[in-house]
């Protein structure tokens, strides 16, 4: 097939699927968090409140997009769509099935990490351009947190790369299909790499317990304080999108992607992604958050040395079990 046509079809499909799942994840979160808090979630629009995201979207679209008087107009306006674009861009290299992948890059993991680190910039742009002290505090915290947690994220993602011997995500999955999921085998480096990957990616996505950039009890809404209407909607959506992409990447890197005990295929990938996604929400609604200096100390004191040890142990494992390479 013409590679341009293939790319276009994949782009449209992946974008739409991801954005739809993200929109309904808002419904899922409200229902799930409601149940955890001994209340019902949305019940009014649609059966069981299923049309709530539609109604929320319409509400946000019809609100006025206010730009504060002394705000930096250009940065203020492009920051929300840029966040969404970068979050979606990372979905391009995630393999959903044996040949279902938008762009099978040889450097898949590197591309993922690069775009992941780029997502800090629109967050910082939105905070800085708002001309609001709360937003600026949130933006500074976001930059500090995002840049610091890059390192454990890279180190934790390196472990599957070393074990599989390739940076391409579909190669990593194929390796896991042959040799067992990295989260469980090899025991040690794989499991701990997952345990380090999860907090690091939660910190990248600004989720509780690492959500100080948007801590509502301290900074009203953090970086999105001054945003109204669809600007706020896009920032909100981008956070969920980033979380969804993280779950997809984690299930590819550590849980075997489309592999399953029987009938491997797209459905296993969907199941694992949504399972991890629900798990991240579960964590969000149960834990209180860290303070910013405690967050930094966790990163630099525990996750970075731990990550280095993990990478070394993964390398040693590969050396002794497969005679080098």
């Amino acid at each position: 097939m013409n590679p341009w046509l293939r790319g276009l079809i994949y782009a449209v499909v992946v974008t739409n699927v991801f954005l739809t799942i993200t929109a309904w994840s808002i419904w899922f979160e409200r229902k799930f968090s409601g149940r955890m808090q001994s209340r019902l979630g949305p019940t009014f629009y649609g059966p069981m409140g299923l049309l709530q995201p539609v109604v929320d979207g319409i509400k946000l679209i019809q609100k006025e997009f206010l730009i504060p008087i002394n705000a930096d107009r250009l940065l203020f306006v492009i920051a929300p769509p840029l966040t969404v674009v970068l979050a979606l861009g990372t979905a391009a290299v995630v393999p959903f099935g044996a040949d279902i992948i938008a762009a099978d890059l040889d450097i898949g993991v590197l591309y993922l990490l690069a775009l992941g680190s780029l997502t800090i910039i629109p967050v910082w742009m939105s905070g800085w351009s708002s001309n609001n002290k709360y937003a600026m505090l949130g933006a500074m915290r976001a930059v500090a947190q995002g840049v610091s947690y890059e390192i454990p994220l890279v180190l934790a993602s390196l472990v599957p790369v070393i074990l599989a011997g390739s940076m391409s995500l579909s190669d990593i999955v194929r390796f896991q299909i042959k040799h067992g999921w990295f989260a469980f085998w090899p025991p040690g480096p794989g499991f701990f790499a997952f345990l380090f990957f999860l907090p690091a990616s939660l910190a990248e996505a600004n989720r509780i317990p690492f959500d100080i950039p948007e801590a509502e009890s301290e900074l009203i809404a953090g970086v999105s304080t001054e945003y109204t209407g669809m600007g706020f909607g896009l920032l909100y959506l981008a956070e969920y999108l980033h979380t969804l992409v993280i779950s997809a990447v984690a299930s590819v890197l550590f849980f075997g992607g489309w592999d399953g005990p029987f009938a491997p295929g797209l459905h296993w990938m969907v199941l694992k992604t949504l399972g991890l996604f629900a798990g991240i929400f579960w964590v969000r609604w149960s834990l209180v958050r860290f303070r910013s200096d405690q967050l930094m100390s966790i990163c630099w004191r525990y996750l970075v040395p731990g990550g280095l040890i993990l990478v070394m142990s993964a390398g040693l494992w590969v050396h002794f079990h497969r005679g080098g390479g």
């Binding site: 955890m36 001994s38 019902l40 345990l195 317990p209 579960w282 964590v283 149960s286 834990l287 966790i298």
Partner: protein
């Protein structure tokens, strides 16, 4: 540094609540049953013969801390007994500012004003929540009456009362019309 194990305990606690029944009551489709003494709005009563109990003495107007009651006195013949007695020609209670303290119920010498157990429906302007005499007499039939009347409260509080707990007998209540 036991973040992980402590977090697992919180996660378990919140997951346990997912499987319990939610405590939400979906008002207004489902309404909780209110106890006997619940105070939500007001009603003026008639006595057994059908005569209005209110004598327009303005005791409630004087006691109200928010000054929301306005009473006008008139003397006219009773339609039931034929004798001349005091009535309230106008009784207005502005429930916008009511603090539901029950003092007006307590001071009434004829047990005329009582509280009712269901609240007024929300209206679109403040005037809609000003209870006129007509609405107050309607509430007697429309809404379930609360237990407390002036006599019952006075009996409860009087220094001569013996101790035993006073049963809240339900007053002339109609079925809860919602």
């Amino acid at each position: 540094m036991f973040y992980f194990t402590d977090s697992l305990r919180s996660l378990a606690a919140s997951l346990r609540n997912v499987f319990r029944r939610p405590t939400t009551v979906e008002f207004p489709d489902v309404r909780r049953p209110r106890p006997e003494r619940f105070r939500a709005s007001f009603a003026l009563l008639h006595d057994e013969a059908g005569d209005e109990l209110c004598v327009g003495c303005k005791a409630c107007e004087r006691i109200c801390p928010s000054e929301i009651i306005t009473v006008e006195l008139v003397k006219k013949d009773s339609p039931v007994t034929g004798k001349k007695r005091a009535y309230a020609s106008d009784f207005v209670l502005d429930s916008n500012a009511c603090i539901y303290c029950e003092l007006c119920v307590q001071v009434c010498p004829t047990d005329a004003i009582v509280m009712v157990k269901t609240a007024e429906e929300p209206k679109f302007n403040r005037q809609g929540l000003v209870l006129t005499m007509e609405r107050l007499y309607e509430n007697e039939k429309l809404r379930p009456l609360s237990w407390a009347t002036a006599t019952l409260l006075s009996d409860m509080q009087s220094p001569e009362s013996k101790s035993a707990t006073i049963e809240p007998k339900s007053a002339t209540a109609v079925a809860e019309s919602g």
